[in-house]
Amino acid sequence: MTRVIPDSATQVRNVAAERRAPRGEPRSLRVALFGNPNTGKTTLFNRLCGLRAKTANFPGITAEARVGHCPADRRLPVALEIIDLPGVYRLTLEVPESRVCRDIMQGSALYQRPDAVLIVVDATNLPRNLLLVGELLPHGLPTVIALNMTDIAQRRGLTIDAQELSRQIGCPVVPTVARKGTGAAEIREQLVRTADDFAAVREAHGDHASVESLRAIASDPALLESWADRAVARSVGGAEAVGAAGDTFTERLDKAFTHPVLGLMIFAAVMAALFIVIFQMATPLMDFIETAFGALGEWISAALPPGAINDLLAEGVIGGVGATVVFLPQICLLFFLISLLEDTGYLARAAFVMDRIMCRFGLPGQAFVPLLSSHACALPGIMSAKLIPDRHDRLATILVAPFMSCSARVPVYVLLTTLLFRDRPWLAGLAFFGCYALGAVAGLVSAFLARRTILRGRSRPMVLELPSYKMPALRTAVWTTIDRGVVFLKNAGTIILAISVVLWWLSAYPQVETPAQAVEMRQQAREMMPHDPDGATALVTEARRLEASHATRESYAGRLGRLAQPVFAPVGYDWQLTVGVLTSFAAREVFVATMSILLTGDDEAAAEDAGFIDRIRNARRDDGSPVFTAATSASLLVFFVLAMQCLPTLVVTRRETGSWKWAGLQLVYMSIVAWVAAFLTYQGLTLMGVA
């Protein structure tokens, strides 16, 4: 087991005082924020830094830290840079989060050693929280303890003498109630004072233990435990109350929430309510964003002279980013509601309810929320997989999340099920449900296979600390939402933007000459206009369809479609369907628009439009046979259920897993599964004579 190797205390003493700021700029302190999970660490961080924070990924792992700034002011002319580290029980645990904390304390690898340490401890659970303190103190860095949740401790009958506790552990202890902001200002002052002269502060707090003796204590678990117990015994009153976490209210709620049947029903109700709220509230906001981006594209198109720059900005940049940003309301609402739920303490109980089902497929109970979220959109689903503590469990969840049928697939499902069962709505409905079921089954089976191959191992039997039930903190939920929203927008504005531009270019270029037939139609329309305006308008519309169809056919994407057609021939697709499938790799919903342009020349048709469905149904291949047979439609439906056709999802997978390897695997695996399943469907139906 790796043990921390602390520097000598003398080396780090007065670090802050030695860190000279450039002339005219306030001095700054780098503070590492530690704490056990569920101690209110992030709430305190939000109180100290507010919106002046950004999320940073640790290289190579999925653990994240937020870095916030607490600016200098007239009262305290020292700026703080605070790193909110992942919650850890112990530094010595062999989990990624503990490894990051150890590296930070040692200043090893890419990490810069902090000037000071702030440890948040739960006042209602001091004996266990002090073990982490005992492991951090031997590093000799200026340390301040935030004794949080003192209000709950008081309600439980605990009286904590902060000064005595401070004397016992040898560093300043500041009582706080992070949810209300109590003690936040004192924390800042104490951090600066301690960093300025840690030796004097230690002396003032009556600490006689040298760093060497603290090191000896930290290296022996039994000694560390008795050190913590002694500190608690001398500073905490109401000893009986120390173990009084359980009360009748908590017992009853736990019994209901984790009950095999009742717990499942409550969970189903909570999740149903969550998603109804998300869909209800997100829809008008999504419509607004769509309209706003549409208007912006039109404005740019009108403001700039026609040409490549105009097309690039209006269609490539605005169109591409708009298509991704439209999911922002869903993402924000999901994170806001999940943050509230998590804060109440309910999610930890719900995880146990789902664990009984999910563990059969090698997934933990916590995977349920990300997988359910993926039915709205895989992006928030994958982002919410952070709730899963084990790395293999988390990776398995991320890998299979895109199998869940997201809302972007709905227009494709509508089109294809209508083509398959035009006059049999109940069969169309059944097929629609079948798509969702097929996606979920494929996801669970893939997780099962992944846990027996690349992510070998069973999902770890669940062991979780059950936090106290409490009212959720609205402020924390808002900050979490803003944070996740900003992360998503950054992706949309960088990698997704670049991909959108490339795909737009492939489908819009090279620009080809207008077909002679379209030129002739426009000429006829001009001549007809004075005496038959309706006929002229119809001719112009027809000419526009012809031009769009010709442009797509001759575009690089169209050429690629013809080139790739042999790959899709065994699953029943001609070059037009192949172009539709290839362009859908940007986003699935593009399929309907591509089919519309290629087969009907109408770029504004909707999947529900009856006339459009008829035109699609009557569309012909180059050899005169129908484009959509029953076998082709079924094969396409299966392909769209199972294929990984969403580049933003790949980008988010890369971000959340820290590697393109997993995103690449996701793309390749899902594409192969989709192709094989589509092949079996097409060939099977053809053999049965359904085609």
Partner: protein, 93 residues
Amino acid sequence: MSLPATQHAAQHAADDAAVSLTQLGRGQCATFYRADLRCEDCDMLNAMGMTDRCQLKICKIGDPWIVQVKSTRIGLARSLAQRILVLPPTVRP
């Protein structure tokens, strides 16, 4: 180095008396004895407060088992709870 005979005897007595956590009823208290689990799971339990010879109270039986150690409530999957050995209150550790 071998243990003295008295310690050996005590060890045997504790081994014989240790029962699975799942054999206890709701509201019963016991002393944590040993966990036959993977190292990582043992470390995690230990970090959560389930340390050598600590006292624990069964708050809920079934899946999950909920135990309280000091003021920490810990939820345990059935498969995990089955492999945690405890000494019932009548047995001195």
